[in-house]
């Protein structure tokens, strides 16, 4: 009896896995995810860049944030300091490993900060500015080949392997020639499309690719969108003292 069940389960497993294996012929799914993480995570160098985040909402004025981001992905360190608007200047977000703090220069108080939180009521999340960790958090649920504009792409549907990532499932359009993500759709736990991310341009710096323009469209609230532009990219070493709470306090004086 047990043997028969095992055989049936085995057959179900084989036939269940067949579509993905068949569809992925010629494409190593793990290699694609690994490449995306490799491009988006700067393991050998520190990273500094200026970000402009323009957020548009129906019936509201455009909000524009200028921020400088410091990253040391090899040590899971991330720091974002707001430069504009003047009213928010000096606000900062520091993430070291699993612990994150936000700093308010007005009250001089730190609060708990999480990468999965939304950045300043925009459509961007703090994690959009940090390194990519698709392999750690997602598994490929389905795969197909397709076309996006003039590019041949792989379309991967990813399901979260843990319940702490912001989006339980996500769909990515990856260029077949260099594995760069061109488009991403993020879905809620109830499987509603929440946002679409379009990345039309990347800047190449050595082995790294940095998205220099990202458009995030809110699919729940019509007309709401956020555009992220990256400038002044640098891979120069950042002093250790930068990734520190006291730096956040000091930088505002």
């Amino acid at each position: 009896m047990n043997g028969r069940i095992l055989i049936i389960l085995g057959l179900i497993g084989i036939f269940g896995a067949l579509p993905i294996v068949a569809q992925s012929s010629g494409a190593d799914l793990d290699a694609i995810l690994a490449s995306i993480d490799e491009f988006g995570t700067f393991q050998d160098n520190d990273f500094t860049a200026d970000y402009t985040i323009v957020s548009e909402k129906p019936g509201e004025e455009r909000s524009i944030f200028e921020a400088r981001i410091f990253r040391r992905d090899s040590e899971d360190k991330f720091l974002l300091i707001i430069a504009e608007p003047a009213l928010r200047r000096g606000e900062g977000y520091l993430q070291v490993g699993d612990t994150g703090w936000s700093y308010d220069p007005e009250s001089r108080e730190f609060a708990i900060f999480q990468l999965r939180d939304t950045f300043q009521d925009s459509d961007a999340q703090n994690s959009d500015f940090a390194g990519t960790r698709l392999q750690d958090n997602y598994a490929v649920a389905s795969f197909e080949e397709g076309r996006l504009g003039s590019f041949e792409v792989y379309i991967l549907t990813l399901e979260a392997t843990n319940d702490t990532v912001a989006y339980p499932s996500t769909k990515i359009w990856v260029r077949q020639d260099n594995y760069l993500i061109l488009k991403q759709e993020d879905y809620s736990l109830s499987d509603r499309l929440m946002r679409t991310v379009l990345i039309p341009t990347y800047a190449r710096a050595g082995a790294y690719f940095v998205p220099t323009k990202t458009l995030i469209i809110d699919n729940l609230n019509q007309g709401e969108r956020t555009e992220v532009t990256v400038r002044n990219i640098s891979f120069a070493a950042i002093p250790d003292t930068v990734f520190n709470r006291s730096y956040l306090e000091r930088v505002n004086r």
Binding site: P58, G59, D98, W101, S107, E109, F110, A111, I112, Q114, R116, A160, N162, D163, T164, V165, A166, Y167, P168, D186, S188, L189, S190, R192, M194, L220, N221, Q222, G223
Partner: protein
């Protein structure tokens, strides 16, 4: 008694002067009574507003630390809490179980942030009675598993009507993004700024959206009959739970205006001792309003300082006036002394006159404070104004504070008598013959 009658007659002889001096005293008392009343009213109202939002006075939650170090707020051992509640002897009807999330409602391009309270409608009689509905009914909300009651302000902001479906964006207990829908079944009158933030829906629907099992809950609130029970009940529950399970030390509970673990207004990050497994947290309304009590004490101290300055200015006037009164009445004093009145009696007439003035001024001040407080109370503070946090149903209240009233009476009477003491002594020391010659 006859000296008191003489003192009152003297006050009546110089009406204008008495009114001016008494008026100055009344003004000082008016200010301090209003300040005391405002701070006492504000503290009570803030506590009431918080008790309404948090559905009680004592709050218990259970956090579980998972293997990935994520903390999840959910009752996984409700039987332990039930045992502790039974041991303390609390009325089960006073225990409210809820789940909550902070979400953004979306409707035709408009959005509004609300804290959605998942309630067990059949066990929330007090809530059902307190809700003042502007449209729809609680029964309709109860009958619809996706039904929600929104504040009128939130409904206006979204432009949504009864029966329409709205979308909500939220995070689950582990931080995943989720989207769901509700159907607006009723709208409620704005119950103040904190109430404005809240919407009410069925517990199971909220659980489904925050991704916790049906029938479970995240917070337990206990409503008590009086504020004096808050600390004893909190301590008893803390100790009872401590005998059954791991409980977060009470001094670790962060101070400040923190609504709950999901929604924190100000949180000064404090280092915490490492812990594993599940643990309960017991808190009460006083911990949320501790800073407000300090602020109230500070405002009262400022009020008292203002009163002291006003009194000092008034007392200089009282001292000068009584010196003048003494010179005006030299012949009268001489006559009374010649007729056999003793020195202490003369002094007593002066002191009675001063204390009568102080008491009359005090009474006028207290009465005026009551009238002014009542008039201010007529102004309705808009519920979206932050100041409405200090109001009861949008109106400021100025309850009389008996200890402060008694203290102020003793202070003003004593100081006025002290100011009149020097002229009174001088009058008492006058020689009858010299006084009659003057």
């Amino acid at each position: 008694m006859k000296y008191l009658a003489l003192a009152v007659r003297n006050l009546n002889r110089q009406k204008k002067r008495s009114v001016l001096l008494g008026g100055a005293i009344a003004l000082g008392i008016l200010v301090i009574t209003l300040v005391n009343g405002f701070t006492a009213g504000a503290v009570t109202n803030v506590k009431d507003n918080f008790a309404y939002l948090l559905a009680g006075h004592v709050y218990i939650s259970e956090e579980t630390k998972r293997d990935d170090d994520t903390e999840v707020s959910l009752f996984t051992h409700p039987e332990l809490l039930d045992a502790a509640i039974a041991e303390v002897g609390l009325d089960p009807r006073a225990v409210i179980r809820r789940s909550t999330f902070m979400g953004t409602f979306l409707f035709h391009g408009k959005n509004a942030s609300q804290q959605v309270q998942g309630v067990q409608w059949d066990r929330e009689d007090a809530l059902r009675q307190r809700l003042i509905l502007t449209a729809g009914s609680v029964d309709e909300a109860m009958a619809d598993p996706r039904g929600i009651i929104l504040s009128q302000q939130a409904a206006d902001l979204l432009g949504v009507a009864i029966g329409e479906e709205i979308t909500v964006r939220l995070s689950t207990v582990t931080g995943q993004q989720n989207v769901g829908t509700f159907v607006v079944r009723a709208t409620m009158a704005d119950p103040g700024i904190l109430g404005n933030l809240s919407a009410y829906a069925a517990l199971d629907r909220v659980n489904e959206l925050v991704n916790i099992p049906a029938g479970t809950y995240q917070t337990v609130s206990i409503t008590l009959d009086s504020m004096t029970q808050v600390e004893p009940v909190t301590t008893a529950l803390y100790e009872a739970l401590g005998r059954l399970a791991q409980v977060k030390p009470r001094d670790e509970t962060p101070q400040g205006l923190q609504v709950n673990t999901e929604m924190s207004f100000i949180f000064q990050e404090e280092p915490e001792d490492p812990w594993t497994g599940s643990r309960f947290t017991v808190a009460n309304i006083n911990e949320f309003t501790a800073q407000l009590e300090s602020l109230s004490t500070l405002v009262n101290s400022v009020g008292l300082s203002i009163l002291m300055v006003l009194i000092l200015i008034t007392l200089v006037g009282v001292a000068n006036t009584f010196r003048m009164i003494m010179y005006e009445r030299v012949k009268e004093i001489g006559t009374m002394r010649a007729l056999g009145m003793q020195r202490p009696a003369i002094r007593r007439i002066f002191l009675y006159e001063a204390t009568s003035l102080a008491i009359l001024g005090y009474l006028a001040g207290v009465l005026l404070a009551g009238v002014v407080g009542l008039l201010i109370g007529f102004f309705q503070i808009p519920s979206d104004n932050a100041f409405s946090l200090f109001a009861a149903a949008g109106r400021l209240t100025f309850p009389y504070q008996v200890p402060s009233l008694v203290g102020n009476l003793i202070l003003i009477t004593g100081l006025t008598a002290l100011a009149a003491l020097v002229p009174a002594n001088k009058a008492a020391k006058l020689q009858p013959a010299d006084a009659l010659r003057a």
